[in-house]
Amino acid sequence: MLENSFYKIKECSENHFTIALLPDCDVYRGHFPGEPISPGVCSIQMVKELMERQIGKSLMLTDIKQARFTTLITPVQHHTLDINLELMPIDGAYTYRATVGQGENIFVELKGTASVVQ
């Protein structure tokens, strides 16, 4: 849904992705006018899409145990981001832990359980 509009994948390995934020994304017209800030929910959706790509299945984020946003992400300051994923299968679902940041600096941390959508 957001791939190639909000972000573009630059590199991917097993548990790690590097993405570029796309500053021309439509969402910045409204979030916020004259002050582009990447919506936290777009980071969540991006993580979901990257997890789906990694496991080759569709997911629903049924249970987000915790999502922490410690640094505001802007397409002006943050051209690229590193996403690390840890997924563990458990009956028809996956528990996950994901981070979005730059190198050692973590901007967003997500933990929860996602169901596999048939």
Partner: protein
């Protein structure tokens, strides 16, 4: 109630609340009809980020109502933390969501709220959110 654009700083294409229906000092009720052109509708269904953004903007409308009453424009607000977010279903286009925001605490520009979305009294999603307001 004032127009939603007087209560929240978000603008198209990412306005995820249609109106504030009720507001007291500790609780608010908002509404959103899921439309085909919603930024987070995919395959005829409002996706998880749309539900979460709707919850965040419902909290923003609640906070914005208080600032509106003081004749101030809405402050920019950012999600600091989401906890125990359960998503039971993804509403289809045409669904009308009614959402309740309950204020748990508010200290130094940080609000802790509990939010629950229902469609025709069926639960859709709920969570706890910590929101930072920029002065």
């Amino acid at each position: 109630m004032p127009d939603i654009k007087q209560l929240i700083p978000q603008r198209d294409p990412i306005v995820e609340v249609d109106e504030l229906l009720e507001a007291s000092e500790t609780e608010a009720v908002t509404r959103l009809t899921v439309r085909e052109d919603n930024y987070f509708v995919h395959s005829g269904v409002l996706q998880e980020p749309g539900l979460i953004e709707h919850m965040a903007q419902s909290a923003a409308a609640f906070a914005g109502n208080a600032t509106f009453l003081r004749n101030e424009p809405p402050h920019l607000g950012f999600i600091g933390e989401i906890k125990r977010c359960c998503i039971m279903q993804l509403p289809i286009v045409g669904s009308v969501m009614t959402t309740t925001v309950s204020l748990v605490s508010e200290i130094a520009g940080v609000s802790l709220v509990k939010i629950a979305i229902a469609c025709d009294s069926n639960p859709v999603a709920e969570c706890q959110m910590k929101i930072f307001l920029k002065e």
